[in-house]
């Protein structure tokens, strides 16, 4: 029965076009990687493609190692050396580009230094590292916690009223738990891949919403509901086959897209750096995860988000018998936070927990979304993922029962 249900969804032109569109989207996102990864060569010109990517890899590999006193000092010295060159001080764009090109190998470390030596937690000055003549490993890591503490307890700051004392302590504790020194390695494959994984996930939600909207409404659209519901299993096994087909479709489409997207990036840009902590990119993240773990969190959360949206679409369609209502569900889920956001603090906090959180899980690793449950402070992702999964499980019987009791005039 599941096979037939899938044929009903994917057989019509609309289904094929939707799936083709999603495949094209994934391919486009993969192609964008090839063309967005730039290398500035010795002549100050931009290069793209596999050659540029190899040069970036070689340049960053030269800086592989623990981000300790020795490596940080070496970065500062090299940065100073480059800053002292005529190219770095030239007002000519090409000359400036040449100087920029020399910094590409250690650019991520330079960004970390900017973060660590910023004036305040929310500040970022691209030239901070250029002003440093020496660096101390201890202050490099301590500053991260010091700036956070200042920000959390600054009575005039934005964080002061936003977090409870328990939440502040939780964030500080997580910061303290980060193992130092961080290890730096070439990690562009993971970084670039994760950066846009949420986009693939969000497109998936829209496309799957369109496909799944028909699963419980096609019978009445095609006037096949009379025969369907009068058949032996029309209100039992066949109804459950619809739910199963929907879940299978979400699972196969989502994981196929994400695995193709992930594998393309990693095969093209390299698997190296998977064990590097995400703090080498998100220095202020409270999540002590490496890139492989961040990838797993992103993929699983994205799946739960898609599954939730898919099941909600099926639930709405089964109850309302309207595919139009169903199709709007993912659109509402995706755009509601941006439409309603900024009206009130309480609403913003509520919208922070909307399913979009699951789709942009990787970006949320850089934020402080916390939830207090029975006095225990937990990251929003750690609460929302199981909660949405539980809602998914609750939607299944609701959808099934709604459809099986349907009466057709």
């Amino acid at each position: 029965m599941i096979r037939y249900e899938l044929k009903k969804i994917l057989g019509p032109t609309g289904g094929k076009v939707a799936l083709g569109l999603y495949a094209a989207m994934v391919i486009l996102m993969c192609c964008l990687t090839v063309f967005t990864m730039k290398w500035v060569n010795e002549q100050g010109e931009h290069e793209i493609g596999p050659g540029a990517m190899k040069k970036m890899r070689d340049a960053q590999n030269q800086w592989e190692g623990d981000l300790d006193q020795e490596l940080l000092t070496e970065v500062i010295r090299e940065n100073q050396r480059i800053e002292a060159t005529p190219q770095a001080n030239s007002e000519d764009v090409t000359q400036s580009n040449i100087a920029f090109g020399w910094k590409q190998g250690f650019a991520p470390i330079r960004h970390l230094i900017n973060d660590a030596y910023a004036d305040s937690f929310r500040d970022y000055d691209y030239y901070t590292a250029d002003g440093l003549t020496e660096i101390d490993e201890d202050t490099f890591y301590e500053n991260r916690i010091r700036l956070l503490e200042q920000w959390l307890y600054d009575e005039t700051g934005s964080a002061y009223g936003r977090f409870s004392e328990a939440e502040k302590q939780y964030i500080l504790q997580k910061y303290g738990e980060m193992k130092t020194p961080l290890y730096f390695d070439y990690h562009e494959g993971w970084y670039q891949m994760l950066e846009y994984a949420g986009v693939i996930s969000a497109y998936g939600m829209l496309i799957l919403g369109f496909l799944l909207a028909g699963i419980f409404t096609n019978e009445s659209k095609w006037k096949a509901d009379g025969v369907y519901f009068a058949s032996r299993y029309g209100r039992s096994k066949a109804a459950s086959a619809k739910v199963k087909a929907g879940v299978l479709l979400v699972t196969v489409v989502y994981w196929s897209a994400m695995l193709i997207y992930s594998l393309f990036h990693l095969c093209y840009m390299g698997f190296e750096g998977g064990t590097c902590m995400i703090q080498i990119r998100f220095f202020r993240s409270m999540y002590n995860l490496n890139f492989i773990q961040a990838w797993a969190v992103t993929m699983v959360c994205g799946y739960i988000g898609n599954l939730f949206a898919g099941l909600l679409v099926m639930f709405v369609c089964a109850r309302s018998n309207s595919a139009s209502f169903g199709v709007t569900v993912p659109i509402i889920l995706l755009f509601l936070p941006s439409v309603l956001g900024g009206q009130a603090d309480w609403l913003d906090r509520l919208l922070d927990l909307s399913p979009i959180l699951l789709l942009e899980a990787y970006q949320r690793l850089a934020s402080f979304d916390l939830v207090t449950v029975f006095g225990k402070v937990l990251p929003a992702l750690a609460v929302c993922a199981p909660v949405y999964l539980a809602v998914c499980l609750a939607l299944i019987p609701g959808t099934y029962q709604g459809f099986r009791r349907k009466q057709t005039r």
């Binding site: 029965m1 006037k223 009379g226 025969v227 369907y228 009068a230 058949s231 057709t408």
Partner: protein, 295 residues
């Protein structure tokens, strides 16, 4: 094998689509005749568990069909009036899918699909997509799916709609063959479709059974008789106002009228043999299907 309808009513808002109907169906072909809006489809939809009655019950061998759920539906074959199918499925795929819905095992389903395709004459179209079939072929596919599971109760709502005369004859023969050891309830407003094959006729109007019985008993009980007379146009106009007109034809000596009336309508009127169509017209009124069916 007894399908019993007891005080069955179905109300949609203020409209009584079926109004306190009671009847018992046993083996044989039952022809459900009525004008559009008489409640035939609503009654059939209740008999197929598609909608629940507002009042009353339907039992199969003493057990409520809604409680029996799939145990009842496994005995059921149904062709709805507004029948549609999955446009991207081939005829073979469609029937295989319906066989799965009916709980027929795959091996048996393959055999059965081949068999019903032959019965309805769709073997050559088995690989055609449903969306490419003509109206008549689609209807035949509908009949095929209804008989896939050898149902004990076969409910066919306007099965001959869209069929050409040859196909209708073929279909009537098929129903006659199928009528052995099962209940066939056939709704139509084409009287000739059921006149020759139905063992019982149920005449329905305004949600109620006006009259039930064999064709012969209905004819015998009909208070009006068909009279044929030939007259001028002016006389015909006057007669049409007074009597129910079963037929009007142009003859060599004037207008040939077939009138339904208990009395001789004109001195030269000749009494003709009463048909089921005459009974139908007599019961339903001349303008059958209109809101106002008065003469």
């Amino acid at each position: 094998m007894e399908l019993k309808i007891s005080h069955l009513s179905k109300q949609f808002g203020s409209n009584h689509a079926v109004d306190d109907v009671s009847y018992t169906l046993r083996g044989g072909v039952y022809g459900l005749l009525g004008v559009n809006g008489a409640g035939k489809t609503t009654l059939m939809r209740m008999l197929t568990t598609l909608i629940r009655p507002t009042v009353g019950s339907i039992t199969w061998d003493g057990e409520d069909i809604f409680r029996m759920d799939e145990n009842y539906r496994k005995r059921l074959g149904y062709l709805p009036q507004d029948y549609g199918a999955y446009p991207e499925f081939t005829v073979q795929e469609y029937l295989s899918y319906i066989a799965t819905l009916k709980g027929i095992r795959p091996a048996a389903a393959r055999k059965k699909v081949g068999q019903v395709l032959e019965q309805v004459g769709l073997q050559k179209a088995r690989n055609k997509k449903m969306k490419t079939l003509s109206g008549g072929m689609k209807r035949r596919a509908g009949i095929a799916q209804a008989i896939l599971n050898d149902p004990q109760i076969l409910i066919l709502d306007e099965p001959t709609a869209g069929l050409d005369p040859r196909e209708r004859i073929h279909f009537r023969n098929l129903i006659s063959e199928l009528a052995q050891d099962r209940i066939v309830l056939l709704s139509t407003h084409i009287v000739s479709d059921v006149a020759s094959i139905a063992s019982q006729i149920l005449l329905m109007k305004d949600g109620r059974f006006l009259s039930t019985g064999t064709v012969e008993s209905l004819i015998a009980a009909c208070p009006e008789r068909p009279w044929q007379c030939t007259c001028t146009k002016a006389q015909a106009a006057a007669l049409e106002k007074r009597y129910k007109v079963a037929n009007v034809a142009a003859g060599p000596n004037g207008v040939v009228l077939r009138l339904l009336t208990a009395e001789r309508p004109a001195a030269d009127a000749v009494l003709k043999e009463t048909t089921l169509e005459d009974v139908f017209l007599s019961c339903m009124g001349q303008r059958s299907g209109d809101d106002d069916d008065s003469l």
